[in-house]
């Protein structure tokens, strides 16, 4: 129970996020006998991929495919385990000494702090920014967003919809729409022309665990059989409209055309959510393969901050099954570190999860190369809006680079780009790419925003209530 007074609780393992990685990590740690608390911002466990899988509003959730339903077993197991899980709970700060500040909504609303002996961050990923001119218009959403509407609210696009971009999630959703009897108006496919050629060198490794590839081929084949218009080699996109989306203009090999539409769904992959790891000062490494930053992790998922781990896509994109395996082995490593399990036992338990994670990761280099977002879609034309919150254009960012801004923190200071409520989630990568382009440097050298807690806006009341004074400090001076 939370009261209005400051309250510090202690817990062995605090898991942030109840998606596949978080649930698996919690189960491992709990089974080892540790006291575990899971905090999740949503009302039910499942993360993004398994949203509402245990309580689907759909008459036939099986139409979403077997990968979605797989999550049901895990969610049911998690909910039956007795592991403490606080829903509607935002973690807005973590300190290096593992003090966690949270705000909880709903019936048990309140704020507070928890001291954890170990923290497992399993906050997953979100859709890569796709800064196409006009992407801020009403009527433009992420493919993932439309999928959430389907999974959680049983809502489908009313009219045949245009999907634009590339990557496994885009094809999956196109397939799901077809399963639900909803025709797709067109797929505007931005897969780079040399994607397959670049990816071929990774095909042997991918073929060692062929199941993801076979799944993908089946999806693509079903899309082809449905007769869906699939326009490949799209090199430019523009979203047109005054107060809302009215049309999409595209350029593909040797032609350009305009499609009238009120709804376009964009997708060009997903990227790790690094707000918490950045705010903690964890080391991050640029992944040229995935074109994003990953927190630096050891084989068990431990970050550069001792006792703080990342499991799942928050550490690098590898998908839900890899996330589940990573969560499991991270949970066991934590158990070993906290002394409730010896190393040989940990290794015995983790062997299967290590194998599974390796299997799931095998396809990644191939997919990352095949669906590598094109330069123009990471480094957009001048009139594209880069920072949606503060409405800063790509042209303005390029201009600031010419004025001498070397990094995103300088462009932030000059223009407020990255200072809005999303805290750089949707502009950080784009700004880094644009600066890299202007300065002709690798993105890795450009760097990222300095991210500070709170990682989402909180009220002064939340801050005040969750503050726990240090009893060792001298009392405040009275004036």
């Amino acid at each position: 129970m939370l009261s209005a007074a400051p309250d510090t609780r202690q817990v062995d393992v605090l898991v942030i996020g109840a998606g596949p990685a978080g649930m698996a990590a919690a189960l491992s740690a709990h089974q080892a006998g540790l006291q575990v608390l899971v905090l999740d911002e949503n009302a039910r466990p499942g993360g993004q991929i398994y949203r509402d899988v245990a309580q689907s509003p759909l008459p036939a959730p099986a139409l979403l495919g077997p990968d979605y339903l797989h999550g049901r077993t895990l969610v049911v197991q998690f909910q039956a385990s007795g592991i403490a899980c606080w829903d509607q709970t935002l973690v807005w700060q973590i300190t290096p000494d593992r003090q966690v500040s949270f705000t909880r909504k709903g019936a048990l609303a309140g704020s507070g702090q928890i001291q954890a002996r170990r923290i497992i961050i399993a906050n997953g990923a979100y859709e890569r920014p796709f800064p196409v001119p006009g992407w801020q218009l009403p009527g433009v959403m992420g493919v993932g967003a439309a999928q959430i509407l389907l999974k959680s609210a049983a809502l489908l696009p009313r009219e045949p919809v245009v999907l634009a971009g590339c990557g496994p999630l885009l094809y999956l959703f196109a397939w799901q729409l077809i399963q639900f009897g909803q025709p797709v108006k067109a797929i505007l496919d931005t897969t780079p022309a040399d994607g397959l050629r670049q990816a071929l060198r990774y095909l042997p490794a991918a073929l060692r665990s062929p199941s993801p590839l076979l799944k993908g081929l089946r999806l693509l084949w079903a899309i082809r059989r449905s007769g869906t218009r699939h326009i490949k080699g799209v090199t430019a996109l523009e979203l047109l409209g005054q107060q809302q989306l009215e049309a999409v203009r595209y350029q593909a090999v040797g032609r350009s055309a305009t499609l009238a539409t009120s709804l376009v769904l964009l997708h060009q992959g997903v990227v790790p959510n690094v707000q918490l790891t950045r705010s903690l000062g964890c080391e991050h490494v640029w992944s040229e393969a995935q074109l994003c930053w990953h927190p630096r992790l050891d084989g068990w998922g431990e970050t550069s901050r001792p006792g703080i781990f990342v499991a799942g896509d928050g550490g690098g994109i590898a998908g839900a099954l890899a996330a589940q395996a990573a969560g499991a082995l991270t949970g066991w490593q934590v158990a070993q570190q906290l002394g409730v399990m010896d190393a040989p036992r940990r290794d015995a338990l983790a062997a299967q999860a290590h194998k599974e994670r390796k299997r799931q990761r095998a396809v990644r280099p191939f997919l990352d190369a095949l669906y590598r977002p094109g330069d123009r879609f990471r480094r957009p034309p001048d009139h594209a809006m880069v920072c949606r919150c503060e409405e800063v254009s790509a042209g303005e960012v390029r201009q600031m680079a010419q004025l001498g801004c070397a990094g995103p923190n300088q462009t932030k200071t000059f223009s407020r780009c990255g200072m809005g409520p999303c805290q750089g989630r949707f502009c950080g990568l784009t700004v880094a790419e644009l600066l890299a382009q202007q300065h002709q440097q690798p993105v890795a050298d450009i760097g990222y925003y300095r991210i500070r807690a709170p990682i989402k806006p909180v009220t002064i009341g939340d801050l005040a209530v969750s503050y726990v004074p240090d009893p060792n400090l001298p009392p405040p001076q009275e004036y």
């Binding site: 509003p57 009527g139 992420g142 993932g144 967003a145 959680s152 009313r158 809302q244 503060e390 999303c422």
Partner: protein, 102 residues
């Protein structure tokens, strides 16, 4: 504000409906869905206009990362509509432009 919705309910899904108020207008929306989903279901195209230039925005990511679905819920401003579920009688208001401080 509600007009033609871009979305329709999946055939065969028969959610219970509850009443919420969107900019003073009573709307029937599915029980248990997010406020953002409810706005889209009710036909809202733009749920706010931006503080910087008063341009219209609508939910974009539906998972609490983009902050474009900010609305006023039961008197509390700047609530992420996609991160809360609808309740019977909920009062939802668009936020237009920048906040006035006086």
């Amino acid at each position: 504000m509600p007009n033609d919705s871009l979305f329709k309910t999946v055939a065969g899904a028969s959610p219970q409906h509850i009443k919420v108020w969107i900019d003073g207008q009573c709307c029937q929306v599915s029980e248990g869905i997010s406020v953002a989903a409810a706005l889209l279901q009710a036909g809202v195209r733009a749920c706010r206009t931006t503080p910087v230039s008063a341009q219209p925005r609508a939910p974009f990511c539906m998972m609490g990362q983009c902050f474009d679905c900010l609305v006023e819920i039961d008197g509390q401003s700047n609530q992420q509509a996609c991160m809360q579920r609808v309740r019977e009688g909920m009062q939802i208001h668009a936020m237009d432009g920048a906040r006035s401080l006086c």
